[in-house]
């Protein structure tokens, strides 16, 4: 008989990757308060951001630290496009009149923001992508500095370092879930396409890839631009969740948070973005309860400033030492399950259920054996 791993069973995959999360989401949506719902919204936004970084850093092997900059562009462009004329008039009075009057529905603004950011990324990438490794890391970090500096100073568009606020909260749970699913789907299709395979070839061996006729400059630029597109999507959603943005929110801290999500989860796969975003979204909320000091085993621990940063950076270092490839490694189990038709068609086959039941009975039997003395 062909042996099948239990985790490959369609029913199991369906239950664990789709049904259980769906149940949790519905539960949070209908039962829990606003606070929990906004954490969940944040999780889906982070998911998009982490997945966008995985595309460049893990899959193509372009190590970029510029995601926060593209996120900022997405947030600003999106917000300026959705805000009403009167809001813009009071907040950024020096803004050109045509731009003040220009207002788009949320979905259109989201797409325009992402596309404009992608074009900007194309221009930047054209200039900087010949750099590699450490050089590129620093240059993209420099790019974040430049973007912040521009946002800080172009006050006739951005209201300077005070930022802009008053956006409508368009980023509701259904909106971010749909956007995250579409984003993951596009990224996943891209990864499994011929282009995606060339990206992986490029990461593994540049010379060999070049000899196969893969134009590495085009591929690198394309990956950089697509990554920027989704970073902007994440940024735009984020702006319409927080409803207030400022240049300083898209700086080194945000850069590191996205990088941490990406590395912890597993850079080499899109699936890695899921556990990565989960840890880095929920852990800080959990730690916030302790940051004012707590008592453990009768010992009172005083207030620790920046507890979240310490815990996450220690977690980060431990991960690099013991599991460099992150939680998922290069396995696309999670995203693959979500988007492969076999998960769904498998549900209509009797064999799936038999295997599933069989696995349980076998498991029970082996547990029973363990319990009995020999």
């Amino acid at each position: 008989m062909k042996t099948q791993r239990f985790t490959d069973n369609s029913l199991f995959r369906f239950l664990m990757v789709i049904l259980v999360p769906l149940a949790i989401i519905l539960l949070v949506h209908f039962k829990a308060g606003n606070y929990y719902e906004s954490i969940l919204i944040l999780f889906f936004i982070n998911l998009i951001l982490a997945a966008s970084l995985n595309l460049t850093n893990g899959i193509t092997g372009i190590f970029s630290l510029g995601q926060a900059g593209f996120m900022a562009l997405g947030a600003y462009i999106g917000s300026i496009l959705t805000l009403s004329e009167s809001t813009k008039d009071t907040m950024v009075s020096k803004m050109p009149q045509w731009l003040k009057q220009f207002q788009l529905p949320f979905w259109a603004a989201l797409i325009v923001a992402a596309c404009v950011t992608m074009i900007i990324a194309g221009i930047i990438g054209f200039a900087i992508l010949r750099a590699k490794g450490h050089y590129l890391a620093v240059i993209t970090l420099g790019m974040v500095i430049v973007i912040k500096s521009v946002l800080d100073n172009a006050s006739s568009l951005t209201n300077g370092s005070r930022g802009i606020s008053g956006m409508t909260k368009y980023s509701t749970l259904p909106v971010v879930i749909i956007t995250a699913l579409i984003s993951l789907f596009i990224l996943y299709r891209f990864r499994t396409s011929a282009y995606g395979r060339s990206m992986i070839a490029l990461r593994e061996d540049e010379d060999a890839a070049a000899s196969l006729g893969i134009n590495h400059r085009t591929i690198r630029l394309m990956s950089f631009m697509i990554s920027a597109f989704f970073a902007a999507v994440g940024g735009c959603l984020w702006a319409h969740l927080q409803r207030t943005i400022a240049p300083s929110l898209f700086y080194f801290d945000e850069t590191f948070t996205i990088l941490e999500m990406s590395v912890l989860g597993g850079m080499a796969s899109l699936s890695g973005a899921i556990p990565g975003a989960a840890v880095l979204t929920f852990l800080p909320q959990l730690l916030a309860n302790f940051s004012t000091g707590f008592t453990i085993f009768g010992i009172h621990v005083p207030q620790i400033n920046g507890l979240t940063n310490i815990v996450t950076s220690v977690l980060f270092i431990i991960m690099i030492i013991f599991r460099k490839e992150g939680i998922t490694g290069s396995s696309e189990y999670l995203v693959g399950t979500l988007f492969s038709s076999s998960t769904y068609t498998g549900l209509f086959r009797k064999q799936t259920y038999l295997d599933f039941a069989h696995a349980f009975t076998r498991k029970n039997r082996s547990e029973k054996n363990k319990g009995e003395p020999q």
Binding site: I128, V138, F256, N305, S313
Partner: protein, 295 residues
Amino acid sequence: MGFFVAQLISAIKLGSIYALVAIGYSIVYSIMGMINFAHGELLMIATFALWSLLNAGLSFGLAVILSILITVLFGVLIERVAYRPIRKAGESTQIITSLAVSIFLEAVCQAIFNSSSKALIIPEFFSRTFKIYGATVSVIDVVTFASTVILTIVVVLILQKTRIGKAMRAVSDNPEASDLVGIDKNKVITVAFIIGSVLAAFAGILYSGKYTSFSNDMGFMLGVKAFIAAVLGGLGSLTGAVAGGYIMAVLEVFFSGYLPQGTASFQTTFTFLVLILVLLVRPNGLFGSNNWKRS
């Protein structure tokens, strides 16, 4: 005239700080082939050590010496604990690790000292001022420039004349051949970190001494700028690191001083644009022959 001299002087003192930090990056890069993103945090460590020691009532001279030693200790410790295990790992692992160290140190510093900005009280002597061509110069500005010149000369002498300095150049030139003549790489790397840490400690103290207020995030930005200065000059070149540091500072200061009203605040943007343009024309930097020698 007075305005120009004043601009020049502030470019020189800022450039001195960048140069000191850039040399540290450059030395470590040419020996290990990695960028130590946590290098900037050494400036923070030196400054906070000095501040704490002065608060504890130590004399200024003693506190400076001790804080340099503490910085060196941290520099060597970082290499031992975090970088040695990943020396042969890929570039992205190295970038991630050094970023993690950087975040960790900053977070711990924040936990101990909180994130409010602090003032460093330096002896009154250093803040005395005098006039050159109508521009005001304080003693610490002169000390900053002089220290940079002296330290750079000392580093050059170490690299050119001493046994360990020659070994450092040998490792950066040809790692395998240096193994084969019996050079202990661990020792060479440790010395590179000691030199880098001493320079960073001076840079940190001089910087905070000059601008008097500092906080736990002072190091990273300075580090990134100094690193870009090192790349501009040509990583691995000592001349390049120093020249890159001063060029970076001149661009920053003069852009903010001379750009027309309304665009002056874009100085950072313009500085980086110039740097990217330079790197497009000369990807190895201005002095990028990967050579320690001044040729």
